[in-house]
Amino acid sequence: MESRIPTIKVQTADFNVAAEIEKLTHGRTDIGAVVNFVGLCRSEDDTLEALELEHYPGMAVKQLEALAREATDRWPLDGVTIIHRHGRIEPGQQIVLVVATSMHRDAAFEGARFMMDYLKTDAPFWKKEHKVGQTDGSWVDAHDADLMARQRWAS
């Protein structure tokens, strides 16, 4: 199956999942599977006021394009859409969308999972948590730093 050019967007605006799926499937009779993943902002038991997502503008789009290309090389996908938001996002709101379409479900499931997993570690986005009642936010990856700092002492 010849893949079409992936749709990659990095934006502050929200997205409409149904509309994005419709764009990939409209007028088509050969697509048998659509898998979509939507990442949402959690409230962490009502302790989180908002997330602030920082990104590296030029590189973020490039990395998402590379992920989509890798996925369409590895699986017979027809269409791919990745949308990642940045800026302030509140609990319950959407952060990220990954859609993969294919003739069969295995390729769509695996392709979508692959893109989501790699996006987490390779796409240049950083989350800062703003907790309820606190003025300063804290970076979510501070935990990774702690972990590495601890590992330095393990060897």
Binding site: Y56, V96, P124, W126, W139, A142, A145
Partner: protein, 84 residues
């Protein structure tokens, strides 16, 4: 001259978003660059306190610490990514 760009807490600790800089001759690899930057002041030292966790992109492509900086025009330094 190369442009250095910082993100997330690396940016906050260094104290600014980006700078234009002339790299000294001794800086060949990404690891050399991180080591040299740490000598430039307390803010850099704090930002690069644990250099092994710092991720680096050369002209917007992920790089390893062993990679040579080469002719990169834009070098970005940031913590592990937490998108998605």
């Amino acid at each position: 001259m190369v442009k250095l760009i910082y993100f997330s807490w690396v940016r906050e600790r260094v104290g600014f978003n980006e700078e234009e800089i002339e790299l000294p001759d001794g800086v060949a690899t990404v690891r050399d660059l991180l080591g040299w930057l740490r000598t430039r002041g307390q803010n850099y030292q704090h930002a690069l306190e644990f250099p092994e966790i710092i991720r680096v992109a050369l002209d917007q492509e992920h790089a390893n610490h062993e990679d040579t900086v080469g002719t990169a025009k834009e070098i970005a330094l940031f913590p592990p990514m937490t998108g998605g």
